[in-house]
Symmetry: C2
Subunit: 189 residues, 2 copies
């Protein structure tokens, strides 16, 4: 997706240790029309998988998941990392190691919103190591729902997430692929 790639090159900051700062248009501040286009682009790539729901993880997955689900005309469910007092019924719980938080995080989805008959497209802002995405996949499996695809706005190819997810045998789509962040660079494929 050219508009996203251009924006990464113009405003993305390589903070070292594989950390890409995209706070001016993806996280913290969001370019709403770019995000809408991200959603449209992911929805086009998954138009034929019959998704009934888009699942993501709070916080930064919400915007791309919402935009994609809007284009696909399905609801989203975002996994919570802390239990709000409104989460009263049974939940599916998984644990994911968080690269950016330096500790494990819980991911919880109420059982009422993830059902065996659901066909789930997982969407997140980043595909990096794949650890968060794999935790979301396990939540889908706990529910007995069908996983039909995984989409991300930005992929950091060097972190191996695509390989980690390959055995799932579902389409994996990212809209901008970063192949090299060594020496302060941001190299897109």
């Amino acid at each position: 997706m050219e508009a996203l790639k251009k924006r990464i090159l113009a405003e993305g900051q390589n903070l070292g240790k594989g950390i890409l700062k995209v706070d001016s248009f993806i996280n913290h501040q969001i370019d709403t029309h770019l995000m809408y286009e991200v959603g449209q682009a992911l929805a086009r790539r998954f138009s034929d998988v019959g998704a009934t729901k888009v699942v993501t993880a709070e916080i930064s997955g919400i915007a791309p998941a919402l935009a994609t689900a809007y284009a696909l005309n399905v609801p989203i469910v975002y996994a919570r990392k802390t239990r709000p007092i409104t989460m009263t019924g049974p939940v599916f719980v998984e644990v994911a190691p968080s690269h950016t938080k330096g500790r494990d995080v819980f991911l919880m989805i109420s059982a009422e919103f993830l059902r065996p008959e659901d066909r789930v497209l997982i969407v997140d802002d980043f595909l990096a190591s794949g650890a968060t995405l794999m935790a979301l996949v396990r939540l889908v499996e706990h529910a007995g729902a069908a996983l039909v695809g995984i989409g991300a706005a930005i992929e950091k190819r060097c972190e191996g997430g695509r390989e980690a997810l390959a055995a799932l045998d579902v389409p994996i789509v990212s809209l901008a692929v970063i192949t090299d962040m060594s020496d302060g660079q941001i190299v897109l494929s």
Copy 2:
């Protein structure tokens, strides 16, 4: 907004102590088309205030803020409650007491994304006591930006937020107003 009111009456759950559960369409699971309509409706009400940015608080403010900002063709900035490692520069910080968390939460916005020339519309999912909204207002004031309005999807009138915010002398708009939650009821105006 009739569609939102109907949905609250059909699926909202009064959990007692003023807690309204709307996890099936606003929080946790989001009806993406209803959320789009929420954004359109708020944008119509604020079409003449010249907003250059929509500000909200993570997590549940992101969706209504994104939908509103998309309709107004401006970016959003969501205040972070914990500092991600990508938040490297100076930040504006405020503290808000959280009703649903039972403790104070920090709200942080990078100084680079809130500027004196900004005209800010604040949007959140709920207008209840107004405590979170007031903390966002103080962040806007710290930046020297102009506050041009406050919008919420759902207002719990009985919690006094509208009165707490009245002195700001900006338009305050909510799309569904709950006037009574006593005795397990959900009464809309």
